[in-house]
């Protein structure tokens, strides 16, 4: 039998396909089969054993896209915070895509948290393209006030509305502080009861 593709070589591979419900059957020589990435049996590729979403999350990582678009957002804002360790503000960080000093991690803590959450899947509500069942269960849990604010914060960062982002970040800070106070108070009362 002659190859259906090049009409030259002897075919020794039979290919069956199903496209839109229509079955097709044709014959290829080894060379044409190779060029199409087809093989005889016994040469199947395994799926790589890792989920996609970590990689996806990283590509959607807002910091990366920020560093690609050096605009002046943030510079006119008097709300923009400067890191006491290195004097950089968020606009500076965007320009280089790099933190200025280790203290930046404290100064821009909440912004960084939301960025890093995306990388390692801490806040899965905003990572698209997840198909696993246990993730759906996650999403059905009601959000806490802080979680709601965090997701809002990420939205604002995505939309590059940094002034609003800063306001939300401050709210989160206050709430987190209040929470810690509460827990400390609680543990104190418990301590007294004992």
């Amino acid at each position: 039998m002659i190859c259906d593709k090049c009409h030259k070589n002897e075919a020794n591979i039979s290919v069956k396909t199903m496209v839109n419900g229509i079955a097709e059957n044709y014959y290829l020589c080894p060379e044409c089969a190779r060029k199409q990435g087809l093989f005889q049996s016994g040469f199947g590729f395994e799926k790589l054993p890792v989920s996609n979403f970590l990689g996806q999350a990283l590509f959607n990582f807002p910091f990366a896209s920020m560093s690609n678009q050096p605009t002046s957002i943030g510079t006119k804002s008097n709300k923009s915070v400067r890191c006491p360790g290195c004097g950089q503000d968020f606009a500076d960080l965007r320009k280089t895509g790099l933190f200025g000093c280790p203290e930046c991690y404290t100064t821009f803590h909440d912004l960084i948290r939301s960025m890093l959450d995306q990388i390692h899947g801490g806040h899965i509500h905003h990572v698209t393209q997840i198909a696993s069942a246990d993730v759906v269960i996650e999403e059905m849990k009601p959000l806490t006030e802080i979680e709601k604010l965090r997701s809002e914060l990420q939205e604002k960062i995505k939309l590059e509305q940094y002034e609003e982002a800063a306001l939300i970040r401050d709210k989160i800070k206050d709430l987190t502080a209040a929470e810690t106070d509460e827990t400390t108070n609680n543990s104190e009362t418990e301590g007294e009861a004992e």
């Binding site: 080894p30 395994e46 890792v50 990582f61 360790g85 290195c86 280089t96 933190f99 200025g100 280790p102």
Partner: protein
Amino acid sequence: MSWYEEHGPDQDVVISTRVRFARNIKGYKFPHLLDREETSELINIIVEAVQRLDPKSFHLVELNSLNLTDKQSLAERHLISPQLINSQQNKCLLINREEYLSVLILDEDHMRIQAINAGFNPDQAFEQAKNLAVALESVLEIVYDQEFGYLAACPTNVGTGLRISALLHVPGLEYLNQLKYMIDSLRRSGFTVRGYYGEGSSEQGQMLQISNQITLGKSDLDLVNQFKTILSVFIKQEREARKHWFEHEKIKLQDRIYRSKAILSNAYLIGHEEAFNCLSDVRLGRALGFVGFPDYTDILSLIYLIGVGSIQKKEGQILNSEQRDIARAKLIKKHFADLINN
């Protein structure tokens, strides 16, 4: 003896494995914001610390004091990144005698602690780099945060600071048109895939560098194990592809490999790309057990020698493109004559 003159596991597919840790020192800004004074202060601190740990085996290379050729040669051996060749900032490299352990000072982070091994050897490379990182932590104040782990200048390195990569030889998957598919699934799984000469380089001679992208949210050991799992699938598939190729198009395959060997043994003029691709074919011949082919270690030494920077370093002068092609052909021919006669 340099690391690339040694044998390693799975060498038929994997050329080398690298592990590096990003580490920064307390009390200093990240390198791109340091002034001249802080720069030299920090270099002194790090050099002194490394030499205190192991005074004999490390030597210091100041990248600023090197000429272009020397820097190219370091990049061709993967000791510095190609971007560093044109950098004007003061950066240093501490490197041990066998060249398998190094500390790159004041690149993107204060320190990049790197170990490189022949073949597929993530465990050993990890252990070597980690040991040096841990030792340095005992003599230097390293920035570490309870929440984020090891802090780094770039958020993509935060956490473990670990980057593990392997350089793979994949002519089989290339030939069977499976490379695109494999690269896509690696990228979707959170791995970076690059050509032999790093960022933006084409996939020359079917050699690929694969590395992890995620550094946070998993322990460094988990990252290494995940890398091992993924790479072992890739290695197996490359072997399958070669077997398929050999079984189905044996004569053509032999013809291609022996032609490449003939070119390397006989040419009077050879450009870098042609030499690289022929060496890739010859490496495949070695892997398939063809008689009279040089060993992996000799092929890798040659790959290192034929680079644009390395060839000029070897000749001790700046050469134009034709002079380089002549020198390269001569060098390869001589090596081949020696290797095959032995």
